[in-house]
Amino acid sequence: MSAVRKVAVSSLLLVLFSTCFVGRAHAIPAFARKYGLRCSACHEAWPMLNYFGQKFKDNGYQLMNDRDSPIWQNNGYWPVTMRITPNWHRESTDKVAVDQAPTGQQQITAHGFDVGGLDMLSGGTLDKNISFLFVLSSDENAAFHFESVNARLDNLFGSPWLNVKMGKFELDNIVSEKRWLTLTADGGGFQLYHFVPVGDSNFLGQIGDNQFGLEWMGHSANDRTRLSASVLSTTDGNPDLPGSNTYTGFFAGSQAFELGSLGTQRVGFYAMVGQAPTNTLTSDGVPIAGAGFGNKTFSREGFNGIFYLKKLDFQVVTQHGSDDAYFGTATQVGGPTPLPAGARSAVWNGAFVETHYVYNPQLIFIQRSEWIRMSQQSIPGTPSNLGDIDNYVIGYRYMPIMNSRAGFAFHNEYSWIRQRGTAPDGSDLTSSSLMLGFDFDF
């Protein structure tokens, strides 16, 4: 396998890996217990928020009544929730490099009973208008990390336009990947939120990853208008300042409006602009944390929207992404190899449409179609479609238990993904996932 192929396959695996283990979260019966509301009050289908749930979140996990402070809770109340998903799943990849295969590659299919990671969530208010959230996530081997750790000052000076949050948090994506409804390895995450072009070395621009930073967020009293701006450490949410002293900005805004009996529609935008190191100082060959240098620029921007047609809703996200030529060619500033001749920024465009048919609050059907297309490869002469992704997901969730104490869902989903030119032989790489699981939280 050529070096480029190895990088390509590694990139795809990394993307799949990162989407598999980006923390799911955020259906929190602890809130339901506090306020005596059903899951369905805040969740279109847990964990996906509806407008009421979004407003609750934007208010700092408060209903904005006189019972938001924890002082009103019984002493025994502890705002903790756990979520886990035992499941059976089948993973199939059509071209895997295999030593024993005559052609060097063959299809590999694995299936069996398994378990997803565990999420432990705690969130709520420390006092009126001071809220917090931490999410401790594990992989299936119980290796934990902090997915979210933040505190938020809400409604400063009595204004919903002044909310300040610091810590590690989900970026203000109105189409949230943290409250996604899909769980398979191939379709569990939004490819667009984690896309890295083939051969690109910048893994710090993923808008789907929780990040360390400071966020200002403001919204109108009815939450129809939302704006936010964040300054983030360019570490992709990794602790201990591993990169250089660089920062990334993330900006988002949206406006909702009512369309008669069809429902409430929302349209918005987002933009991420940042710098990240391409090289780092070393000690005995080991990178020194925080000593990155040779910073270069990347950006992600796009539009999003949530559109309701009665029981049918569509979530739409577009993205135009760009990585500096040094990232696109995995070249280090001041490194052993110079920037290849003619190298230029890696540029791509993508979009996805996720559709939900909410038969009732306990049964939801899901599809997502996602497409990413490279519009400019960093190295001239590279096949124009190398790294392009097509991803399709269908599934349903049936939630027989959905009260103010616990949620239980039977989840069934199938996903299929193809990335152009990334198989060991340079052809397209295709994989699929099938999953049946018991997804529950309490």
Binding site: G36, R38, Y51, L63, D223, S404
Partner: protein
């Protein structure tokens, strides 16, 4: 042995009768409610349809108010105060006279505003149409909305300018109609009757404490406060005082009550300037409120 069998049969029969009665009562209630699914609401230009709100009610409301609207949802046991029993057709927040049905716009306003000091949140994130549909759905639970029309809304005269004299008069009204018996001499909700108060379903209920700064149950504006004591909060011990307090005096009482609240206000400032302190209860007997 025979006697025991006879007794056993009696018990079994009694249990069966009770069970059948309960079942048939429940079915009749549900059937009657279903017949009222054609109920509409009219709020401004909006027309709400009860049938259209079945899913919305199931999603947002059923956990507390229950599938039959009787306030016996799965969460009701944990909630204080208890969720409203819609089948009774009795509503606290109205612009209509006491004992009458509310206007559609009254229920619509309660849905959008939420009720402080309770678990009822503001449902403003729902669209206007969804809320209008829910109003119709709430109405369909009670046969009263078929047999009766909403009461006439009370007239709220234009608010006069607040003055020191009006504040003093308001304080006198507070004493004359004995608001202090429940709300306390200083308006702290600790009057001599406070501990004994119950609602119409015999559940303990606390009078409003003007000093804690929370929103009134039925609104935030001076006009809302005026309506609260002139219409009364049906289903609670708070009566209507419309027969005992003249409109001009009612505004004076509004001003005085505002001066008790911790928030900055013109009333509070004037009270401070004239040294007006929450007064001791007078010995004068109070007029009977309208029930």
């Amino acid at each position: 042995m025979r006697r025991m069998t006879w007794n056993g049969s009696l018990v079994l029969t009694a249990v069966a009768v009770v069970a059948l009665c309960s079942l048939s009562f429940g079915q009749a209630t549900k059937a009657e409610e279903d017949q009222r699914l054609g109920m509409e609401s009219h709020i401004g230009k909006l027309t709400g349809h009860a049938a259209a709100a079945q899913g919305t009610y199931r999603r947002y409301c059923v956990g507390c108010h229950g599938p039959l609207g009787d306030g016996e949802g799965e969460n009701a046991q944990w909630i204080d105060p208890k969720p409203r029993n819609f089948t009774l057709g009795i509503f606290k927040c109205r612009s209509t006279t006491t004992g009458t049905l509310p206007l559609d716009s009254d229920i619509y306003a309660s849905l959008g505003r939420g009720l402080d000091s309770s678990n009822m949140p503001s449902w403003n994130p729902l669209s206007a149409q969804e809320r209008a549909d829910l109003v119709a759905y709430v109405k369909h639970f009670s046969a009263r909305f078929v047999t009766e029309k909403p009461g006439a809304p009370i007239e709220v005269p234009p608010k006069p300018e607040v003055t020191a004299d009006r504040l003093k008069t308001g304080q006198a009204v507070y004493q004359k109609v004995e608001c202090w018996k429940c709300h306390g001499p200083t308006g702290s909700g600790n009057g001599p009757s406070a501990a004994t108060l119950t609602d119409d379903q015999n559940r303990p209920i606390a009078p409003y404490n003007f000093h804690d700064g929370t929103r009134f149950k039925c609104g935030t504006s001076d006009e809302d406060l005026y309506k609260i004591f002139m219409t009364g909060l049906d289903g609670t011990p708070m009566p209507s005082w419309s027969d005992n307090i003249k409109p001009d005096e009612a505004w004076d009482l509004v001003f005085y009550l505002r001066s008790l609240q911790p928030m900055k206000s013109k009333e509070k400032e004037i009270a401070r300037q004239i040294g007006l302190k929450p007064g001791a209860p007078s010995a004068a007997p109070a007029p009977s409120p309208q029930q």
